[in-house]
């Protein structure tokens, strides 16, 4: 290694240092501390910790509520990820055509991403309200969207998909713009039109982006918390039907002061995410097309 490339490396490390240190301090160390807390019984604001081995995990696996929360979380993921993916791709393809005012639409679609979650939740609460809500007004129904156990999950999915389209659309749009125009021109010469262009040119070349988007979306969706906290709330009869692992973690760790029981929940969630992501990397060989 000569001096030049060594100093190049040094610069590279200096440049990524802020992110790297931030990740270690704010993500790495809490994750490791959660693993540690999972084997402990903490007392007195966490000043005293006793080793209890796998007790917390035993308790967790016998806890019906945990399995229900896990099922809720996975159900949410199964609904939100494909829907967000389909809608984001759809809108990204529309945005990619030369329509008038495309940038205005981009801003509109991206707005949910930059709006405060609490403000978004307030607006949705008004829309969902049973008596005076706009949703019931337009549908001509009288459904308690956020406090009827049969509907609350779909309300959250709607909010999740709506909130996710903007960001994922941008990712996919970037992917679309990387597809060389010459391929479409060649396709047109061969007689490809409309949906066939999308199916045989756009989609295959978009798969690397879609893969990345799916991984990110899935990890994000397993961590659903804020919309449950803000829209459903803790005295809602529908809470058990929508409570996610992260919400249960928050309740246990910060409301009931049982950090240890909360820690084992997020440790399991970490494991689930590792497995899900690992699976996706294995499966990508089957459908992701790299040039």
């Amino acid at each position: 290694m000569d001096m030049n490339s060594r100093s190049k490396y040094a610069w590279a490390y200096i440049m990524i240092a802020p992110t790297l240190i931030g990740t270690l301090v704010f993500w790495g160390s809490p994750a490791i501390y959660s693993l540690y807390l999972g084997f402990m019984k903490s007392e007195n604001f966490g000043l005293i910790n006793h080793w209890v081995g796998l007790d917390n995990y035993h308790k967790l696996f016998r806890d019906e509520e945990f399995w229900r929360n896990l099922r809720n979380t996975l159900y949410y993921v199964v609904l939100v990820v494909p829907l967000t993916l389909v809608f984001s791709t759809f809108f990204a393809v529309l945005m990619n055509t030369r329509i008038k005012g495309a940038s205005v639409y981009r801003v509109i679609f991206f707005l949910p991403q930059v709006t405060m979650p609490a403000a978004v939740a307030l607006v949705w609460i008004v829309l969902f309200a049973q008596d005076f809500g706009l949703l019931n007004y337009f549908l001509g129904t009288h459904i308690a969207w956020i406090s009827d156990p049969r509907f609350a999950m779909y309300a959250l999915v709607l909010v999740g998909v709506w909130g996710g389209i903007g960001f994922n659309m941008l990712l996919i749009l970037a992917g679309l713009q990387n597809i060389p125009r010459t391929l479409y021109e060649a396709g047109e010469l061969e007689g490809a039109v409309g949906f066939r262009k999308f199916r045989h040119i756009t989609l295959p070349l978009l798969t690397p982006t879609l893969f990345f988007t799916t991984v990110i979306l899935m990890i994000g969706a397993t961590q659903i918390f804020d919309s449950i906290y803000l829209i459903i709330g803790k005295t809602n009869v529908a809470l058990p039907s929508v409570r996610s692992l992260v919400y249960a973690y928050y309740q246990n760790a910060f409301v009931y002061y049982d950090q240890n029981y909360g820690a084992v929940m997020v440790n399991i969630l970490l494991l689930i995410n590792l497995i899900l992501t690992g699976f996706q990397f294995m499966l990508q060989k089957k459908w992701v097309f790299y040039e």
């Binding site: 308690a144 956020i146 009869v237 809470l239």
Partner: protein, 448 residues
Amino acid sequence: MLNRKKSWFVIVSIILSAALMLAGCGKSKSESSNSPSAENSPASSGQASEKASDSPKKDVTITYTIWDQLQQPAMEAIGKEFTAQYPNIKVKVEVIPWNDYWTKMSAAAPAGTLPDVFWMHSGQFTKFVSGNFLEPITDRVSTGKIDLNNYEANLGSIYTLNGQNYALPKDFDTIGLAYNKELFDNAGIPYPDDTWDYAKLAEVAKKLSQPDKGIYGFAAKMDTQTGYWNDMLANGGHIVTDDMSKSGYDEQASIEALKARYQLILDKASPTHQQMTDTDATEMFKSGKVAMIFEGDWRTNDIDGSDNITGKWNWAPLPKGKVKRGNIINGLGNAMSAAGKHKEEAGLFLEFLGSKRAAEITAEMGAAIPAFKDTQGAWVKSKPHLNLQVFIDQASEAVPYPAGMKSYPVWFPKEGEIMSQAWGGAISIEEGAKKVANMMNQAIADNK
């Protein structure tokens, strides 16, 4: 293109170096301000304990942390008056909003950075006491510097655990029946008064309800302190047994009271739980959709400040039950940190906060109902168009908020989750009450 890249690099490096410089400044500043006090504090505390009265004392600033911004002016006024008596002790009043208050205090406690003196809530104090983060004030009580008999209705006992006293009563709150005069007038029904019992409440609630117009006689909300706890007590039930060893939710009298409240929803004399989840019941009252509601005195300014209802409402006492008039009395306390740097001075301020003079300032400025006996009159007069006297009158027969137990922070949030299942119709009221009782008994056993 290249030029633009270069200029970006320059801008970024300027920002970075500026940030570094600023960070450097911040550090050196805080070091320079910290070092003298760190050097002098052992000396000053030694001085204070050796020579109590004579010789000029060192200037000290103590921090008094509260969560209600509306009370800040009154608390600052108390601080000023205290400084007039002890010119060397300044009081800095700091407000941390309720939503962040306990999170911050829970982080400050193990770090040893609790404020010198701060507001304590009955639901939280056992947690802080069991960690030895609060300075016991038992000595001040036994030596007569503080007389707990000065305070209303056993308020002094709220902040007692295992025979030790940890906080001085600051104020208290009770529950009242708020009613919409206009809705009563329209129906030609006389206003609620102290002769009312629960049967009368249910009867009038049904008469006043017009579900097709979205107007209900009573908000039978799923709530504890401003809800069914009062009903349970009035009917002869308990929240917890008197020795706090067992839940009272599964007592027949408690279940009966819970069922009676829920019945009002079934009779369409109250909005449903779903409706009250969508819109807070007190907001419904403020917008004239609910004729009667149980609320705490602390909502007085909030309700009265709403243009829709101001001038059209008043307070009445809670109705009588089969056994008595139920009511929950709760009180804030002033507590001091066990790890404070200026405990001597903080102790003096704490005593002043518990004095009659501090109570008078609290009342005159309309901040809260002071806990000190015979100082509540000024608070009652702060809103002459409302019958605030009902809160004072009900205090003597009220039951203390049941938080003086280690298991309280565990069972209280879970109680709401279970009862919301019952109120929402997912399980029966009886099943909910029994589930709560089992859960509470478990929590009590786990947190002995």
